[in-house]
Symmetry: C2
Subunit: 361 residues, 2 copies
DNA sequence: CTGAAAGCGCTAACAA
DNA sequence: TTGTTAGCGCTTTCAG
């Protein structure tokens, strides 16, 4: 073993009576080796208990990987902006492993923009595609193209179970919904709940929070069977109108003291909550975007149900990268994250705890 | 940049007009470089945006590090056993970076055993010591010896602020206490609270949960000023006696419906809670050890205030290792973890989400 | 199909 | 205090 505490490719080569290159060929199934030679090499590997040194492999390798991240475009501070942080951190982490990421954005209200982005990805021939579920139909056809091009793909946040993705990273939205209903109602006699929804573009074929709402409703059926739920819709980009809507809604339903927003924008209720304080009121929202953390901090919203969104993106990138590097067969890997409960007394250190903490060097 | 997309040590050396070895010396603070040269090198580094390639560094380096982990001994399933998992995972993560860990245990009821363990550590001359605070006096004198031997040290879980440690990883116990009181009382009119404490060895000079209790009491002063708190002590290793004690306690104080255990063993209440169900009762405990997760799952305990204990240990190991490897000057690095709220509806995936998920290669 | 050899970027021992 | 250089273990190209 040339004085080492572990066998090197050189030791194997010598024992097998071949060159190092040949050993490399059999180790990585690169082909082009006669069966007889391969057998000799394999025997030597077994005898020496040889394990390739990934550090050395990494250094010597010239391979480069590109991960295409196909996600909705975003504005500062919104959900996908929060995700973006995680993508960036993931990118930084995998950089020294010679994988880079490239973002592709589309407008989640405009199916055409999604199709366009898909075309662009296909044209760029990345090593893998990391994406989310927005337009299901279009997504399926895109995945079809990817499979034809033999490009592996992974999901973050949402997935379609029946597809052959490599990695998924996210939380179970149904469970998050269930938990939200628990937090909104337990220890109280709740008879009425108001659910505030967003007016999405009429053409929008996506309903990203359907499962959350279903989980929410299911909890109510299980534990508060005679609780009535009333919905109202607000226009996400018109603060004045939001305020008016909510004022009208609460005037129409004076008994509703419990509110939930199943999307990531509970902060849109801020003005209303500030202007109409009510000690009996309780509000539950979702997702750890900055503005949401702020309304919790200000005691306007009682609970936020979430997971570390940037970490979720980070995990997705890192794990997908790891799959690409190792060239493993595309077996599904699901990483379900834990659902966190955030209240005004455990807000500290939530968003500061970035994954970088974990990276050596 | 010699045709690369990133600067190498060679590029830096050339720009600074020095040899590669010199660049290496300044990057790793190895000393033996004149200030003038160092300045030139630093300028070149900045100009090129040079980042050392950890993969190459790893491959070339012959250094070995040993981290001594000095912790209380444990029994299966208890708090320090849970920590141990994290230490092991941390060890696995840093292994390929040529750092190994070695455990040293002592009995937290027997100061002498602690002194002995300290002596052993000192004799073994590790590259660094990772530890916890149990016997404060003895710890201070141990730290003194470490400083004389120029061995850096780090804390996990608890720390002493005034010492010159390198890394600390844990949560703020006071805040965890505060949060626990919130969870136990909010949305309710609570007039009486029972706090269940452990009979620790009389010689035991440690009171590990003092700060937690203080935070807890502080919340009550802030928000439930006329709530009365009554304590009782149970013997941790005598289930029958625990049951009797608790039965007697609740007989003596029939109005107490709210209980808290500030230590990690709320599961000791299990038998009592099972035998005397009471829909009005609420119990809050601390720490994510398996048996505690089980009593939450069974709805015997309503909330657990915790952090990912194994992750905490993992972070401590990895970060400390990172400091040792990089040979950075011993500047304090505090990693405050987020305080998690666990209820029966968000228990899933809490302990399964191990840090290994994040490791490439 | 197989061997030889030039690196990958950095460390560390030695020489100056 | 600084420069030089031989590797670390593997990949990959180029000859044979």
């Amino acid at each position: 073993m040339s004085g080492k505490d572990h066998a090197t490719i050189f030791d194997v080569a010598r024992l097998a009576g071949v060159a190092r290159g040949t050993v490399d060929r059999v180790v990585y199934h690169r082909g082009g080796v006669s069966e007889k030679t391969a057998a000799k090499v394999k025997a030597a590997i077994r005898e020496l208990g040889y394990k390739a040194n990934p550090v050395a492999a990494q250094l010597a390798s010239k391979r480069k990987f590109t991960i295409a991240c196909l996600t909705p475009s975003y504005e500062k501070g919104d959900y996908w902006d929060t995700m973006q942080k995680g993508f960036n951190e993931g990118a930084a982490a995998v950089k020294s492993h010679s994988v880079s990421i490239r973002m592709y954005h589309f407008d989640s209200d405009i199916p055409e923009s999604y199709l366009e982005a898909c075309q662009q990805v296909l044209k760029d021939k990345p090593s893998g595609v990391l994406m989310n579920v927005v337009f299901e139909e279009a997504l399926r056809s895109f995945v079809h193209s990817l499979e034809e091009a033999r490009i592996p793909y992974a999901f973050v946040d949402r997935k379609l179970d029946d597809l052959d993705y490599t990695v998924y990273c996210g939380v179970d939205p149904w469970e998050a919904g269930y938990l939200g209903a628990y937090l909104l109602t337990h220890r109280m006699q709740v008879k009425e709940i108001g659910i505030i929804r967003l007016q999405r573009d009429p053409r929008g074929q996506s309903d990203p929070n359907k499962l959350r709402r279903e989980g929410f409703m299911r909890y109510l059926r299980d534990y508060c069977p005679d609780c009535r739920v009333t919905a109202t819709f607000i226009p996400p980009h018109d603060p004045e109108q939001i305020l008016k809507n909510l004022e009208q809604f609460t005037k129409d339903h004076p008994d509703i003291k419990h509110f939930v927003m199943a999307n990531s924008r509970v902060h849109l209720m801020r003005d209303f909550l500030l202007l109409h304080p009510d000690p009996q009121r309780s509000v539950v929202g979702y997702d750890d975007i900055e503005r949401n953390l702020a309304v919790v901090k200000d005691s306007l919203v009682e609970y936020l149900v979430t997971r570390r969104t940037p970490l979720q993106a980070y995990y997705a990138v890192v794990n997908f990268a790891s799959c690409l590097i190792s060239g493993q067969p595309p077996k599904k890997r699901n990483y379900y994250m834990h659902v966190d409960i955030l209240s005004r007394f455990n807000l500290k250190d939530y968003d500061t705890q970035s994954p970088e903490t974990v990276n050596l060097l």
